[in-house]
């Protein structure tokens, strides 16, 4: 996966994401497996996320998900919200089609 999407600061928190193999849909690593809702995602300290990504890669059945990487979160947001526009669009759906949003979560902007 493009390193650009996997970069993060020393401090802060991140979640882990991937695409599901069968339908390509975006999923987030939750306490019980992969969820379509970022609100369910498990939040890691950035200090711990590298290891968590490695573990997720080792544990994930390659038939379930592809392209696992970490996504830095916005420290000022009240809900789990990615820092970059790109990852907000992945989490909350295309900004031009609010009707395609995956879950109840807030809008991209």
């Amino acid at each position: 996966m493009d390193v650009r999407n996997n970069r993060r600061d020393m401090t802060g928190a991140s979640v882990i994401t991937a695409n599901r193999l069968l339908d390509g849909r975006i999923v987030w690593l939750a306490p019980q497996g992969w969820s379509e809702a970022i609100s369910q995602a498990r939040v890691f300290d950035n200090a711990a996320v590298e290891d968590a990504i490695k573990q997720a890669k080792a544990a994930a059945d390659a038939r379930t998900v592809v392209g696992i990487y970490g996504v830095q979160l916005d420290p000022d947001a009240t809900q789990i919200t990615p820092l970059t526009v790109r990852e907000r669009i992945r989490a909350f759906g295309p900004s031009v089609h609010p009707d395609f949003a995956p879950v109840e979560t807030p809008h991209v902007h």
């Binding site: 193999l21 390509g24 390659a62 970059t84 526009v85 295309p94 031009v96 395609f100």
Partner: protein, 562 residues
């Protein structure tokens, strides 16, 4: 109409049993590959090149399937099948692209073999819509219809399709390879922004000859193609193009993806040396093996259905009367039609850019309607344009108003072709995994802001092209106003270029200054357009005023304090 139109679809080539068998075999093979991937017998690394060979990308939200529309021509049966796929396997819509193809954004891997099987049922597929091969050959959207056309480029586009499909030497080129062909002196295919651009015209003996441009392209290094050869005889077309692609295959860089396109090779060698190498290759080829005899060309031509252009003698008068009686219709005719070679006919452009809408997106219902209208008004034939619109090529003039009424009733009658609202935009960050910024919302805001048709017509011809990253899928370098999305620490910014053109006055747009934040971009463009309205001379288009005055006159408008 005679029964042979069933086997010879109007404007398209009638595929034979060999073509059909091959496509079906490919579908079966891919079904098996998907099965092995899902069973865990293929890793993602092993599987990815296989799915890309079948046009299936993994994008931001899901898989994206790119379906080839050979030289942009399709039939109503094919459009209906695309509508069915949109409805059944996607979220009820598809996206027409600047390379005259269609993309579906929400495809499931597990459904793809079924989708490809359905496509095969209407002689469609997704082969060579991805990867380092020769991609869909693009062509003039008014081919075979335009009054200014010298030759119908579709015949040779089909010959090139057959030559380049599964060509064993050209499956693993250094990089992708795009060819466009025009048969009109007015370049409507961006010939000089392609790896190879061909402009066909009749030679002294009446057989076609070709002017060959090479090494054009957009992307991170925009380059205008150079003329490699004038008046290439038809019989040598395949041999010569094969020589060009061989030279590229031999010398093109494979070590650096950003320097791998033929444009970089042509620049590195210089056109003289590149030409020498092509000529040397051409000279040593067994040209007899490649010779395109007139009989072969005529055999291909014979497999294209020809529309029966028969209009009542007063068709043109009837259209004039309809225009006088209805100002809205009259405006649409002014902006959205193109002169046909037959005086009783006209070509109609269906704008896929409604005010405030998403450029190139069509719903399944709209696809079905376009198919019905193609059957009713244009011999069942449909063209996808490189401006992301749709053309019905042969509409009888006395029936044009009926067509318009039906389009207008379905929200497809926007009178904006060639105007501010006719914006080219790539999918951008809303869908594309490579994007830096969103293209579509900028397009929507601009087209909503300039929705007023009088205002648009007053502003006149203006091409606004938007790409969400440097790959330039939205041709921003070729826009009169180009907009490029850039990423600054996860936030969207937009860089403006001015003065580009993909037509006969081809030029690469120049960056006007620092990139603007998302929420200032549309205002800045509005100020730019206002400035043009003040500075223009009578009858001068935006691009002409820009060329007369240069960037300085516009810079202040863009960077005016808020």
């Amino acid at each position: 109409m005679s029964t042979d139109t069933v086997t010879r679809p109007v404007g398209r080539y009638a595929y034979d049993e060999v073509d059909r068998t091959f496509v079906s075999q490919r579908v079966a093979q891919f079904r098996e590959q998907v099965g092995r991937r899902v069973a865990g017998d293929l890793t993602e690394d092993e599987f990815k090149p296989l799915r890309l060979m079948n046009g299936l990308y993994l994008q931001l939200h899901a898989y994206m399937l790119r379906v080839a529309v050979p030289y942009g021509m399709m039939g109503s049966d094919q459009m209906r099948e695309l509508a069915h796929i949109a409805r059944t396997y996607d979220r009820d819509y598809g996206h027409f692209t600047t390379r005259q193809n269609i993309q579906f954004n929400w495809i499931r891997l597990e459904d793809t073999p079924d989708i490809l099987e359905r496509l095969a049922g209407v002689n469609m597929h997704a082969i060579q819509t991805s990867g380092n091969c020769i991609r869909n050959v693009t062509c003039d959207e008014f081919a075979g219809a335009a009054a200014d056309e010298l030759l119908d480029p579709r015949i040779h586009a089909e010959i090139l399709r057959q030559w380049s499909t599964l060509h064993p030497e050209f499956s693993f080129l250094p990089r992708k390879f795009k060819i466009a062909i025009s048969g009109s002196p007015h370049d409507r295919v961006a010939a000089r922004f392609h790896d190879i651009g061909l402009v066909a015209h009749p030679g002294p003996d009446g057989r076609p000859v070709f002017d060959v441009f090479v090494g054009g392209g957009l992307g991170r290094t925009p380059i205008i193609g150079v003329k490699l050869r004038d008046n290439l005889p038809e019989e040598d077309l395949l041999a010569y193009l094969e020589a060009v692609v061989r030279v590229y295959n031999a010398y093109g860089r494979r070590d650096n993806m950003y320097k791998a396109r033929i444009k970089i090779l042509v620049q590195a060698l210089g056109v003289e040396q590149f030409r020498e190498k092509v000529d040397a290759e051409f000279a040593q080829m067994n040209r007899a093996d490649y010779r395109l005899e007139p009989a072969i060309v005529e055999g291909i031509r014979a497999r294209f259905g020809i529309p029966d252009l028969d209009a009542p003698a007063d068709a043109a008068q009837k259209l004039e009367a309809d225009r006088k009686a209805d100002a809205r219709f009259d405006r649409w005719v002014r902006t959205n039609t193109h002169t046909h070679r037959h005086e009783g006919f006209i070509s109609a452009v269906v704008s896929i850019k409604p005010d405030g809408g998403i450029p190139g997106d069509v719903t399944a219902d709209q696809m079905d309607l376009i198919a019905d209208l193609a059957d009713a008004f244009s011999f069942g034939e449909i063209r996808v344009t490189h401006m992301q619109n749709v053309v019905l090529g042969h509409v009888r003039k006395d029936r044009l108003r009926d067509l318009w009424l039906r389009l207008d009733g379905a929200g497809l009658g926007t009178p904006n072709i060639g105007l501010v609202g006719d914006i080219i935009a790539c999918p951008g960050l809303d869908y594309c995994a490579l994007a830096n910024a969103r293209s579509i919302p900028i397009a929507q805001k601009l087209s909503a802001r300039f929705a007023n048709p009088e205002l648009q017509e007053n502003i006149g011809n203006l091409r606004i092209n938007i790409s969400g990253c440097i790959n330039a899928c939205g041709h921003h370098h070729a826009g009169h106003i180009g907009i490029l999305g850039v990423d600054k620490r996860g936030e969207e910014f937009f860089q403006l270029t001015l003065g580009g053109s993909a037509e006969n006055d081809v030029a690469i747009g120049q960056i006007i200054g620092p990139a603007l934040p998302e929420d200032e971009t549309v205002d800045a463009i509005a100020r730019l357009i206002d400035t043009y309205l003040v500075l223009r001379h009578e009858g001068e288009a935006f691009i002409e005023t820009y060329r007369r005055l240069g960037a300085a006159s516009f810079k202040d408008a863009v960077y005016a304090p808020a």
